[in-house]
C-alpha cells in the first residue's frame, strides 16, 4: 500500500529545528509511526520561524515547521522531569529508533543516555545528529547551520567564481543545507542499523555530525588537493569553461564548454559568430588560457537569444545547458507539475497549500506526506496507550510535564 514501506516501525523524535525533524519526517512519510516530543509550552523552536501566512507569527502556522513535521504525532513532554523521564523510558522501551539532536552529553545528563536506554531496549537504535559529532576536540563547540557550512570546503567555495575575494565573502547555501545533509545521512544510517539489527538482533548508537556530512559534498575537491597537490581556489580562473549562470535576453542560462564537442555545439547554437570562430578556442587548453577574451564574447552573443531557444535547441545540439529559474518560476513549471512534485495538504489551523512532495519518487511505496500535528495533539492518545489514566494526565499537565 502507498507510503507504507516502514509501517511496522516506531520512531521517537526528541529533536527540534531542522536536522532531527527532517530525519524524522523521512521515516514518517514512509509510514513509520513517528512520535515527536516537543517542549511543553512553546513546542519545537521551529514553530517560531517564518514563513507565516501574512508574516504573522503563530505556532501552528510556520511553513517551515509544517513541512519538516509532516505525518508525525506530537507529544509535549519534558524528559528532564522525573515523570517526564518515566514516560520517555516507556516510549523508548517499545521504539525501533530514537532520533535526537541535543548537544553531546545532554541525554546522559538527564539519565537517558544510550547506556541507560539500551538496558530498557537492546534493539533500540539511537541516532544522534549534532554539529560536530560525539567525539573529537570540537565535540562541545556550539554549532549552527552557518558555522558548519562555512567550515566545510563547500562553504569556502560558495559562491564559486569569485572576482574580488575581498568584497565577496563566503555565503552559506540557501536554507540550512549542512543540517539537511546531516538529516539525510542520519536517515540512511538509521536504516542501515535496522538491516544490521535484523541480522544481529541488537540496536546501536549512530553518530552523525552535520559538519562532516556537508564536508563530504566536497570529496573530490579534497581529493584534488591530496592527489594533484592543488589547493582548491574559489577565485575565477581555475575552472574557466563556463560553469556559472550567464545572462541571456530574458534571464539566465547555465552551461559549460569543457569538451571540444560542447564548444562546437555552442558555436552552432549561437550561429557561428566570428568572435568565437578563432583557432585559439578550438582546444580546452586554449579556451582556458584565453578565458578573458572568450567569456565576454560568449556573454555578448548569449544576450541575443532567449532562454527557451538556448535551452531547447542547445540540448538538441548535444550541449549540456539549462535555464536558471527563480523559485516562483520553478514552482509553476509544467514539468514539475507533470511529475506531481508538489502536494496540497490541508491543516486545520494553518490552511491548505502546496508542499514539496518528496525527496525522491517511488512507484510501489511513494513517500506520502500528511499534515503536521498541532502542539500536543496526540498527548491523550499516546499517554493513554502507555496506560496513564486521565487523572494522571491531568496531573502531568498541571505540573508542566506535558
Amino acid at each position: 500500500m502507498a507510503g507504507k514501506a516502514l509501517d511496522d516501525l516506531i520512531v521517537v523524535e526528541f529533536a527540534q529545528m531542522v536536522s532531527g525533524p527532517m530525519c524524522g519526517k523521512m521515516f514518517a512519510d514512509m509510514g513509520a509511526e513517528v512520535i515527536k516530543i516537543e517542549p511543553p509550552g512553546a513546542g519545537d523552536e521551529m514553530r517560531a520561524h517564518p514563513p507565516f501566512p501574512g508574516d504573522i507569527p503563530h505556532p501552528e502556522r510556520s511553513g517551515a515547521f509544517l513541512y519538516l513535521n509532516t505525518s508525525k504525532k506530537s507529544l509535549t513532554l519534558d524528559p528532564a522531569t522525573p515523570t517526564g523521564a518515566e514516560v520517555f523510558r516507556a516510549l523508548v522501551a517499545r521504539a525501533d529508533v530514537l532520533i535526537e539532536n541535543h548537544p553531546p552529553g545532554y541525554l546522559d545528563s538527564i539519565g537517558l543516555g544510550f547506556d541507560a536506554l539500551k538496558v530498557l531496549n537492546p534493539r533500540l537504535i539511537l541516532t544522534s545528529i549534532t554539529p560536530f559529532g560525539q567525539i573529537g576536540p570540537y565535540r562541545d563547540w556550539k554549532g549552527s547551520d552557518l558555522i558548519e557550512f562555512a567550515m566545510s570546503l563547500t562553504g569556502y567555495n560558495t559562491p564559486t567564481m569569485v572576482d574580488d575575494a575581498e568584497r565577496e565573502n563566503p555565503l552559506r547555501a540557501p536554507g540550512r543545507q549542512a543540517e539537511m545533509m546531516g538529516a539525510t545521512a542520519a536517515a540512511a544510517a538509521s536504516m542501515f542499523a535496522i538491516f544490521h539489527r535484523e541480522a544481529t538482533g541488537v540496536g546501536q548508537w549512530i553518530d552523525v555530525p552535520c559538519w562532516q556530512a556537508i564536508a563530504s559534498t566536497s570529496k573530490i575537491e579534497m581529493a584534488a588537493y591530496t592527489y594533484v597537490g592543488l589547493p582548491f581556489s574559489r577565485t575565477r580562473g581555475n575552472v574557466a569553461v563556463g560553469l556559472e549562470p550567464l545572462p541571456c535576453k530574458d534571464g539566465y542560462i547555465y552551461t559549460l564548454w569543457a569538451a571540444d564537442s560542447h564548444y562546437v555545439a555552442l558555436k552552432k547554437l549561437l550561429h557561428n559568430p566570428p568572435a568565437l570562430e578563432r583557432e585559439i578556442f578550438d582546444k580546452l587548453a586554449g579556451r582556458q588560457a584565453n578565458d578573458d577574451v572568450l567569456r565576454p564574447a560568449i556573454r555578448e552573443e548569449l544576450l541575443k537569444y532567449d532562454t527557451e531557444y538556448l535551452v531547447s535547441e542547445g540540448q538538441r545540439l548535444g550541449l549540456t545547458i539549462g535555464p536558471v529559474f527563480t523559485v516562483a518560476q520553478a514552482a509553476q513549471h509544467p514539468h514539475l507539475r507533470a511529475r506531481n512534485a508538489f502536494v496540497e495538504i490541508d491543516h486545520p489551523i494553518a490552511g491548505r497549500f502546496e508542499y514539496p512532495r518528496s525527496l525522491v519518487q517511488m512507484t510501489a511505496t511513494p513517500p506520502t506526506p500528511r499534515r503536521a500535528p498541532t502542539l500536543g495533539e496526540h498527548n491523550a492518545e499516546i499517554l493513554g496507550r502507555l496506560g496513564y489514566s486521565l487523572e494522571e494526565q491531568q496531573a502531568m499537565r498541571a505540573a508542566g510535564v506535558i
Binding site: 519538516l68 570546503l153 564536508a215 592543488l230 547555465y254 536558471v324 511529475r339 525522491v360
Partner: protein, 406 residues
C-alpha cells in the same frame, strides 16, 4: 571483523561520475557487494578527468576523483553496446537485488537500462534511476545535465546570490551528494518492502526535486504567501550577527552566529566590550537583526586583526558559535576531523600514500565500514564473470578478444 549491515545484498551498478557512485558507495561501505559495471567504450569520467590525476600523470587507476567516490566496490568492464554484453548484464541483474543507473534518459534507453527491461529480467528488482530532473514528465526529463544544473532549474542558484545581485553557484557539486543520501534511505525502505512482500519497484529520483525538498523556507513562502524569496546572503530570519567576517591574511574568514543575549554578551566580552557594543541599536536581538549591516561592519573591523582558526577556538571557548572558513590545506589538517575518523590514509599500489574522506557516520556496533581500495578498471572481471556467472577462463578470454568484456 564485525558484521556489516548490508551483507548479502548485491548491486548491479551501472552508474558513473558522481551521484550514482556516491549512492553505491553508501551501499558498498555498508557491506553490499557492489559490482560496478564500466567499459572502456564509455569510461567513467571520474577515471579520466585530468584535474584529479595523481601527480598529474594520466592513468585510469590514478584519479583522486574516482578514488574518492569508488572505494569498497568491485569493478568489471562490460561493453553494453554489444548483444553479448547486454546478455551478460542481464545475467548479473538476475543475481542482484538492486540495479542502479544515472545515465541521461536517452542514453539509458539506448543501453537498455530501463525499469521496463530490467523488471522483465528480474521481476522483484529494486531499480534506481538518478537523474537531473527525473525520467518521466515533459521535455526536461530527457535533458543532459549535472548537479549544478538541477540547482539552476529549481531556484537554488538564484537564491544563492548576494541580495539584489545575479544568481551565483553553490560550491562543489552539492546536489549529487544530497540526492545520494536521500536515495540511499529510500532504497533501504524499498529493499525492506521487497523482503516483506516480494514486490520490487522503481525509484525515479530527480536531483531537482531533492533540492526543492531541502529548501522549504523558499518553497513554503511561495506556496503560503506567493512570495519569491530570492537572495538572502548570510542573513538569518532571526539571528544577528550571522555572517562571515574577514580575518588577517588573504581570503581568510570566520563565521559567527549569535542566537541569544548571553551569546551576544560573551561576544562583547571577547572583543573587550568596545564602546559601539553599548549602542541602543544593538541592545537586543531584534535591534541587532534590524541593524545587522552596521553591526557587521563594526564586527569586521575587529575580526580583521585576528587569525581565523585561532579566533574560532577563542570564541568557542567564550561560548560563541564560530567557525573558521577552511580551505583545502586547512581542512586536510583539521585535528577534529582526524580524531573523529573523517579521513583515512590509503597506500595505493599505483599512486602511493593519499588521504581520502570516509563516510560521515560512526556506528557503535560496526567497528569499520568496508573501505577496501578503489578498484582498478576491470580488476574483478575474473571474480565476477568466472565466480558469479560461472564462465570458464577460455570463455572469458574469448569475450575479451571480442571486446565484450572490455
Amino acid at each position: 571483523m564485525s558484521r556489516l549491515p548490508l551483507e548479502g545484498i548485491r548491486v548491479a551498478d551501472f552508474s558513473w561520475i558522481i551521484n550514482g557512485p556516491q549512492v553505491a558507495q553508501w551501499l558498498a561501505t555498508m557491506g553490499a557487494e557492489v559490482i560496478k559495471i564500466e567499459s572502456q567504450v564509455y569510461i567513467d569520467i571520474g577515471r579520466i578527468n585530468p584535474s584529479g590525476m595523481a601527480d598529474r600523470i594520466a592513468g585510469p587507476n590514478r584519479s583522486g576523483y574516482y578514488h574518492a567516490l569508488n572505494y569498497g566496490k568491485k569493478a568489471i568492464t562490460l561493453n553494453l553496446a554489444t548483444d553479448k554484453g547486454r546478455a551478460l548484464a542481464d545475467e548479473i541483474i538476475r543475481k542482484s537485488d538492486l540495479v542502479l543507473e544515472c545515465f541521461p534518459t536517452p542514453a539509458a534507453n539506448k543501453l537498455g537500462i530501463t525499469y521496463e527491461r530490467v523488471r522483465a529480467v528480474k521481476p522483484d528488482i529494486v531499480m534506481v534511476s538518478v537523474s537531473l530532473l527525473g525520467k518521466t514528465g515533459l521535455e526536461p526529463a530527457s535533458w543532459v545535465g549535472w548537479g549544478p544544473m538541477a540547482c539552476c532549474f529549481v531556484g537554488m542558484f538564484d537564491a544563492q546570490g548576494y541580495p539584489g545581485g545575479p544568481p551565483r553557484q553553490t560550491g562543489g557539486t552539492w546536489p549529487d551528494y544530497a540526492i545520494a543520501s536521500a536515495v540511499t534511505f529510500h532504497i533501504l525502505a524499498a529493499l525492506r518492502h521487497r523482503n516483506r512482500t516480494g514486490e520490487g519497484q522503481w525509484i525515479d529520483a530527480s536531483m531537482g526535486e531533492t533540492v526543492i525538498g531541502q529548501m522549504p523556507e523558499w518553497y513554503m513562502d511561495y506556496a503560503i504567501n506567493g512570495r519569491d524569496r530570492r537572495q538572502r546572503g548570510n542573513r538569518d530570519d532571526r539571528m544577528a550577527p550571522h555572517n562571515t567576517y574577514p580575518c588577517a591574511g588573504e581570503d581568510k574568514w570566520i563565521a559567527i552566529a549569535v542566537g541569544s543575549q548571553s551569546e551576544w554578551e560573551a561576544l562583547c566580552r571577547a572583543m573587550g566590550n568596545p564602546a559601539w557594543t553599548r549602542d541602543a541599536k544593538f541592545a537586543d536581538q531584534y535591534s541587532r537583526w534590524r541593524n545587522s549591516e552596521e553591526l557587521d561592519s563594526h564586527l569586521a573591523r575587529w575580526t580583521r586583526g585576528h587569525e581565523h582558526i585561532a579566533l574560532a577556538s577563542e570564541l568557542q571557548r567564550a561560548g560563541v558559535a564560530a567557525g573558521a572558513v577552511l580551505d583545502s590545506v586547512e581542512i586536510d589538517a583539521d585535528p577534529h576531523l582526524w580524531e573523529w575518523g573523517f579521513f583515512r590514509k590509503i597506500n595505493h599500489r599505483e599512486v602511493g600514500e593519499r588521504i581520502l574522506p570516509n563516510m560521515p557516520v560512526r556506528m557503535s556496533n560496526v567497528a569499520e565500514l568496508n573501505y577496501s581500495m578503489p578498484p582498478d578498471l576491470g580488476q574483478h572481471n575474473h571474480e565476477i564473470f568466472g565466480g558469479l556467472l560461472g564462465l570458464s577462463d577460455a570463455e572469458i578470454a574469448n569475450l575479451m578478444e571480442q571486446k565484450v568484456i572490455y
